[in-house]
Symmetry: C2
Subunit: 134 residues, 2 copies
DNA sequence: CCTTGACCTTACAGTTAGTGGAAGGTTTAG
DNA sequence: CTAAACCTTCCACTAACTGTAAGGTCAAGG
């Protein structure tokens, strides 16, 4: 299977697959006589795994750890669970940050008339506001 | 006022202030005889404004637009309001994405025993999962 | 045989919003 | 005289790719 096939079947782009090979996240693909990269069922599985890990929020370093775990037959499922719970915590923190920003935006917007005139509570709030420690 | 003073009073780092000047987000600072950048109350206000805009989630391009509005005496407050509401929408979308990821993580974690053995529902879920369209 | 289009290859630049560090000039205190 | 604490510019690095250029390969159609 050529790279564009592998891309379609994994949900990654061909560019991304080459990039993952470049940074040694996956092993160098086999090559056919013309130099084209070849993918089999096994490598495709890893590509799908990575696509899915990225999808649920893991960054590349974390995805690498997860993939290492998947490859390791003497793994302990506890390690995978730890990675997932830690990520969930990070997401939680980030979500709370975003919610707090959004609340501030909505408060500002509610105080702004939003008409043709120059008086604007938003601009005032942004000027006056104490540096946030959010 | 020198740059580190301006940094302390605005909540930005000195590095960041120089960077903002570099990308022409703010006007080049006045210089004293020795070549040091000088900041007055007016420029400090703009720095604080930028710090606060970034704080509530605007990226640099959006912050630039907001700053332009603040500088424009014939502005219409409607424009500021539009920017804020649009940003709030974007945050909403992002928050929902993160929540959806987190839900998936928690489902996976709940299905994983998390013990010393290699059997792991998380690894299986990541392998099997259909490419998410979240 | 030739061309066209769809593949594939590598390599380099650009994106965001800065941060880190090097190499060197200035100012102030002791 | 020297050390600390400023300041300057410039270059490299981060994450996770994407875009583009220049060129090689392959299958179909005229």
């Amino acid at each position: 299977m050529n790279i564009s096939q592998a891309a379609r079947q994994s949900g990654l782009s061909a560019k991304t697959i080459r990039y993952y090979e470049d940074i040694e996240l996956i092993a160098p693909a086999a090559r056919s006589d013309n130099g084209y990269r070849q993918y089999d069922a096994k490598s495709l599985e890893e590509l799908r795994f990575l696509a899915r890990a990225r999808d649920v929020g893991f960054d590349l370093e974390e995805s690498r750890q997860l993939l290492d775990l998947r490859r390791d037959n003497s793994r302990q499922s506890r390690h995978a669970r730890d990675l997932v719970m830690e990520k969930s915590q990070k997401l939680q923190t980030r979500i709370e940050q975003l919610l707090s920003m959004q609340r501030e935006l909505l408060v500002m917007a509610s105080r702004c008339k939003g008409d043709e005139g120059p008086d604007c509570a938003i601009l005032e709030d942004l000027s006056a506001g104490q540096a946030g420690e959010s």
